[in-house]
């Protein structure tokens, strides 16, 4: 055999052995965990879009956070590790300095730490696991502390966490970000819920081959899909007005001993919401620490019997169809009335025979309203209730918006027409009432309420299209109701609280709460809705208290709060009495 043949045999033998080895690695060797680490597809999370107030201040932004994991195989004493890290992984509400915590809170903190220690120990006990998650969305300062402890077997993975710099301010409006069943960030309630798909963007994919040192091998495809950052929102919310409203609302809710208070402020000409607040509120940064019942925004999700504020709708329908005029005299106002077996009386048992329709509104006279309702009839009143949109959503960009509760017209009896005329026997949402009063303030043109002014996509700001306006009632009718509302403020029960020099249009409402088939006289929803200045409205506002205890009446609770907030808005928007 010559040397050439020997060389050929060696080359073939080497080639065969390489093929055999490759065959072994490819098909026979069982190394799942190692092989996956060389070639993998990594999800690239997209940054969630931010939510800005109208002054471009971020009401919802993102902050750096970390996922903390442990490798059980590398940990010698589970309890030691758990003891070291547990105090840092309990709720952030205990993050205040120890001295600032009350005795009870200190005890709670100790219990929480104990529970966390137990949980961590259990997690890392299983030595068969390669990796266990210890904590999610851990803030950077905590990660730094844990990093300095140099604990063997503990690792960190970079992540993002939603952060609300103004804490509980506008919480009901914003909603919050939690996790869905797959552990992915998801927006719940408010704007976070409504715009979840837009805000979350689209995560990308990284098709990646790595060498044994973990560095990417560049011969294969590298980035397969780039992540698409979420869109950001610019709201119509005026941060200063929102702050004023929240401060005043908190003080008033506590002062009047109400279970809950809600305020909405809007701009009638555009439908833009300037402020929307409810007290008690919650901190979306720590939403898990609050009762789930607090998450829904009562301004759009609560239905209530509006009481006397609904008289505005009945009067609007009656004036618009010309069945009455502001000077029409009430022919049945001399005393209580019996309708369908029920007695209809006034709230203070005072009666004003032959009062005009303007005076009926001024005295908030239920008997006078039954007179108007009878002139109007069920068909017309029902038509206007539908025209004003009480049977449908306003379309405001909040996830939990609900519609009012209006029974079918066929079910209305004579007594239903009578009670509906003064706002009982039907239910509306606060935002629907604001939309209606906006229409009156806007010369009869209805513009649906809106919260988002512009959307930022790829650093480009796009204004959101204004919703179409609709002439719902005539300008004349709107002007007549405005004058009646001004008269109600000037001469009504709440006149003592009104800021001097300003013409404010408004209407009080006190509705008993229906409980188990009857009305509880001690439990009411007190409200006040209006706008100012009356002739050139700059804002519409609704104030509503649930079960105020110091007084059950809207004129003694909601109206003074309306005027308190209005005074501050006058100063802030530089509205002088001359602007009337």
């Amino acid at each position: 055999m010559n040397r050439l043949k020997i060389l050929q045999i060696i080359i073939i033998a080497v080639a065969l052995s390489i093929i055999a080895r490759l065959f072994y690695w490819q098909f026979l060797a069982n190394i799942p965990s190692q092989s996956s680490s060389y070639s993998q597809e990594i999800k690239l999370p997209a940054s969630r879009g931010q939510i800005f107030a109208s002054d471009n201040f971020p009401l919802a932004t993102n902050q750096e956070a970390f996922l903390i994991y442990a490798k059980p195989k590398e940990i010698d004493k589970e309890s030691d590790l758990a003891k070291k890290i547990a105090p840092f992984l309990i709720s952030e509400k205990y993050a205040t300095a120890g001295a600032n915590l009350l005795e009870e809170q200190k005890k709670q903190k100790e219990t929480e730490i104990g529970k966390k220690e137990e949980e961590i120990t259990q997690k890392i006990k299983n030595k068969n696991l390669l990796w266990v998650q210890i904590g999610r969305k851990v803030p950077k300062n905590i990660k730094n502390i844990l990093d300095e402890l140099k604990i063997k077997g503990l690792g960190f993975e970079r992540d993002e966490k939603r952060f609300y710099p103004e804490a509980s301010m506008a919480a009901h409006l914003l909603g919050f970000v939690g996790s869905d069943k797959f552990g992915d960030d998801t927006g719940y309630f408010g704007l976070e819920g409504f715009f979840d798909e837009k805000l979350k963007g689209k995560s990308g994919k990284l098709g990646l081959d790595k060498d044994p040192f973990g560095f990417p091998i560049l011969v294969s495809k590298y980035r397969t899909v780039e992540p698409k950052e979420g869109e950001s929102l610019i709201l119509t919310i005026d941060r200063t007005i929102q702050y004023i409203v929240e401060q005043k609302l908190k003080a008033a809710t506590e002062k009047y001993g109400a279970k809950q208070g809600t305020v909405i402020v809007s701009q009638p000409q555009t439908g833009q919401i300037l402020a929307m607040a409810t007290y008690p509120s919650y901190d979306p940064n720590l939403f898990t620490e609050f009762n789930e019942k607090d998450y829904k925004n009562p301004a759009v999700a609560d239905t209530y019997e509006p009481g006397s504020t609904f008289k505005l709708i009945t009067i609007a329908a009656a004036l618009d169809t010309a069945v009455v005029s502001p000077q029409t005299k009430c022919e049945v106002c001399s005393g209580p009335r019996q309708i369908g077996g029920y007695e209809i009386s006034t709230w203070n048992k005072k009666y004003y025979p032959n009062s005009t329709i303007t005076e009926v509104i001024q005295h908030s006279d239920n008997v006078g309203m039954t007179f108007v309702a009878e002139k109007l009839g069920t068909d017309k009143l029902f038509d206007y209730i539908q025209k004003f949109g009480f049977d449908k959503n306003t379309g405001i960009e909040l996830q939990e918006e609900t519609t009012g509760v209006i029974r079918d017209k066929e079910q209305w009896r004579q007594i239903d027409l009578a009670t509906a005329s003064f706002g009982q026997g039907l239910a509306v949402t606060p935002i629907q009432m604001v939309q209606t009063v906006q229409t009156i303030a806007n010369g009869g043109k209805q513009i649906p309420p809106r919260l988002v002014k512009a959307v930022i996509e790829k650093d480009k700001q796009k204004p959101v299209k204004q919703p179409a306006e609709k002439q719902l009632i005539s300008q004349k009718t709107a002007a007549q109701i405005t004058e009646m509302m001004v008269n109600a403020v000037e001469n009504g029960e709440a006149r003592a609280f009104k800021p001097k020099g300003y013409r404010i249009a408004g209407k009080t409402g006190t509705a008993q709460i229906p409980l188990a088939g009857h009305y509880d006289p001690e439990k009411t929803i007190a409200s006040f809705v209006g706008f100012a200045p009356a002739q050139n409205p700059r804002f519409v506002m609704l104030v509503r208290f649930t079960e105020p205890s110091s007084s059950i009446f809207g004129s003694e609770t909601a109206a003074p709060t309306f005027f308190e907030i209005a005074k501050e808005i006058f100063s802030y928007l530089a509205i002088s009495p001359k602007d009337n």
């Binding site: 971020p58 932004t61 902050q63 952060f163 710099p165 040192f213 006058f570």
Partner: protein, 101 residues
Amino acid sequence: MLKKDFKLAKKENFNVGGKIHVRVLVAVTTVLTFLIFAQLVFANNLAIDGQKLSQVEEEIKNLQAENTALKVEIAKASSFTTLSQQANDLGFMKPSKVTVF
């Protein structure tokens, strides 16, 4: 042709064939050596580039994280909640009466 001449011719033919084989082998070996060397250089460059890319990406991530942290700090410091608390602590008070001229 004589038997002797035939053997000589065969030997010469073989020498020519052998020379060609050797040349081909040398050429193939040279090309293979060059390719192996090129592969080594290429793989080495890739490994270095991968490492560099990894470093650059890490740097980008760190800068982005720092940027986010600073934005959050600014938002925290300029929030109304913080500002009103500071104003309170410094003894600022709201005007008790606003006069409009």
